[in-house]
């Protein structure tokens, strides 16, 4: 294929990615070093009511001739990075909070918003990964021995947690573990009483449980498909040589599955770093928070796009570091492929 027609074919796709992914990414970097605030003015308004007229003095946003609110913008350098990273005490009124309205002053004693978000994100990644890989593998091996008729049912039911809308899945778990929900009731019958969403450890455990529940089917399906391709003659040869089941698994099956394990691991690392919905739904950021949640929260609840941008840039740096091994692997494979 010639370069010209290649450019024509990929054009629309590349344009969309440039306009809606690359450009916004660059804009985020710019936004993170700026701060805009509405210019406010004091006005005295005459109000006429049923009990006569009186004057009220209020603050309101200045508007220009066309009715647009006047904003003053300035470069603030790395100020918001310092704020998000907790490198300075949030000085009262420094730089003015963006958007004026709704900007909640960040509570004292929470100097490291980003680090606590990053810490839980990494905890989530680390805690879910072994269960996703191990559970998926165990399930695939078990399924491989089930009679054909039952397989379709098992696979269909297993797909459900994976394709379910994440918000809905997280809500379903939340309602299951809620006070007076099914799980506390059953555990209560065994004498265990836990208020799942009322303390840090159980809330975090719940988010992690959700993560395993949600992603395990993906690992399972991929591994199960991989098991169908294990060379049968190698397995038979091993049996004739007197290998036990464990040895066959260790020396024939697992080496065959290794590329798939790496694939699932990479996918899961990428997706787990983005954990958002369970954090949002299960605890609303109370005992758990994640890097995606932080940006979302700062943008929509604190209404501060500049600080949110700083958090975004830090998030992107984080994923970039995480991606390096994956990129190197793909790099090598694609180079060989060409």
């Amino acid at each position: 294929m010639k370069l010209r027609s290649f450019a024509g074919f990929v054009g629309p796709s590349v344009f969309l990615m440039l306009a809606l992914l690359a450009l916004p990414m660059l804009m985020t970097v710019v936004l993170s070093m700026r701060n805009c605030a509405l210019e406010m003015e004091l006005v005295t308004v005459q109000q006429t009511g049923p009990f006569g007229a009186h004057e009220v003095t209020t603050q309101r946003a200045k508007v220009d001739a066309s009715g647009q609110a006047v904003q003053t913008c300035q470069w603030v350098g790395l100020e918001y990075y310092r704020k998000v990273l907790g490198l300075e005490k949030p000085a009262a009124g420094a730089g003015g909070t963006a958007g004026a309205a709704g900007a909640v002053p960040s509570p004292a004693g929470q100097p490291t918003e980003f680090f606590s978000a990053l810490r839980f994100t990494l905890l989530y990644v680390a805690a879910t990964t072994p269960f996703v890989l191990g559970g998926g593998l165990a399930l695939a091996l078990a399924m491989n021995r089930v009679t054909q008729r039952l397989k379709a049912v098992f696979i269909a039911a297993s797909l459900l947690p994976f394709i379910i809308t994440p918000v809905v899945g997280a809500l379903a778990i939340k309602w299951l573990f809620r006070d007076n929900g099914l799980v506390p009731h059953v555990l209560g019958g065994m004498g265990i009483e836990v208020f799942w969403m009322a303390q840090a450890w159980s809330a975090q455990l719940l988010v992690i449980l959700y993560g395993i529940w949600h992603v395990l089917p993906f690992a399972f399906i991929v591994f199960y498909a991989g098991l169908q391709g294990v060379p049968q003659d190698a397995l038979e040869a091993a049996t004739i040589d007197g290998a036990t089941n464990g040895q066959k698994l260790r020396y024939v099956t697992l080496p065959h599955l290794m590329p798939l394990v790496v694939f699932v691991l990479m996918m899961h690392l990428m997706d787990a770093y983005r954990v958002f919905e369970p954090v949002m739904v299960l605890t609303q950021g109370a005992f758990t928070t994640s890097v995606q949640y932080l940006t979302y929260h700062v943008l929509l609840q604190e209404d501060n796009p500049y600080k949110a941008s700083a958090a975004s840039v830090l998030t992107i740096i984080g994923i970039a570091l995480l991606l390096i091994p994956l990129l190197r692997k793909t790099w090598r494979e694609q180079r060989q492929g060409h």
Binding site: S13, V14, A142, R145, A156, T165, L182, I221, E277, S309
Partner: protein, 275 residues
């Protein structure tokens, strides 16, 4: 293979446990969606309770959930159609072009594939507010298409690679242009791959919560964004309508699995086989 009865029992017991764990959250949500609040979260828990459709009635009629359903339908359909059109062109070209530009494009797409979506939101707000297109369905569709592109072109490319080049060459010898060869010869052969990729585009658009909730107001919201209120629902009725909403969102997905299980499984494994 030798089969010990004990081993078989353990095997099926283990699988049964997983089956319960996988299905229980959804099943229990269905059960409580058919109850009043008092029965749904009573102490002690009730295994059986009178069935009522009140929650669904409140949700779909009083709270006009059909509007959100309509929004979801439009957004999902639009995203799938545009994603596939744009993605097929790019995926095909990437499978046929031998230069290093294609390689770089794939690497960059992979980087975007890993990008946490919330990092784009501040810029989206600034950009779309400035252009006055923030709260529109079409904006949401194009954002979803763009976010979906990296995945779509990787997947479609891996399907196109399996189609022998001789096929398009033969068509071009017979007088087709490149575009005609693509449209008349390759796409018909590619159909299973297009359907599979379309399913995953569908899931991404249908399941999205963050973008819809951040970019659209209540009247334009998709279903997942609309039921987010149930997270912190203040009244019991509102909470139960959220439960009914959760079930309503899940039903189309269950139908999807029932119809397209094979394609979903093949799609999940497609990327894996190619590495």
């Amino acid at each position: 293979m030798r089969k010990s009865p004990l081993g078989q029992t353990l095997l099926y017991a283990g699988l049964a446990v997983w089956l319960v764990l996988a299905a229980l959250p959804v099943l229990w949500t269905v059960v409580i969606s058919l109850r009043t609040y008092v029965d749904a979260f009573s102490a002690p828990l009730k295994w059986l309770a009178p069935i009522t459709l009140e929650n669904y009635r409140g949700l779909w009629i009083d709270r006009e959930f059909y509007r959100n359903f309509y929004n979801t339908a439009i957004v999902t359909l639009g995203t799938v159609c545009i994603s596939l059109t744009v993605g097929c062109l790019a995926g095909y070209a990437l499978s046929r072009y031998r230069g290093s530009l294609g390689f770089w494009l794939l690497i960059i797409a992979l980087v975007f594939r890993a990008l946490p979506h919330s990092t784009l939101l501040p810029s989206f707000h600034a950009l779309f507010d400035a252009m006055g297109i923030r709260n529109t369905t079409i904006t949401l569709i194009f954002v979803l298409v763009a976010i979906n592109q990296p995945f779509t072109i990787w997947m479609l490319r891996s399907f196109f690679v399996n189609i022998p080049q001789e096929l398009d060459e033969a068509a071009m010898v017979d007088g087709c242009t490149r575009l005609q060869a693509f449209r008349r010869v390759i796409i018909p052969v590619m159909w299973p791959g297009v359907v599979t990729t379309g399913l995953f585009s569908f899931l991404l658009a249908y399941n999205d919560f963050m973008l819809s909730s951040a970019l659209t107001n209540a009247d334009k919201m998709t279903m997942p964004a609309a039921i987010a209120g149930a997270i912190t629902a203040e009244s019991d009725a509102l909470l139960m309508q959220g439960v009914a909403g959760a079930v309503s969102i899940t039903i189309p997905l269950i139908i999807l699995v029932a119809l397209f299980q094979k394609q979903i499984v093949s799609g999940l494994t497609q990327g894996a086989v190619k590495g």
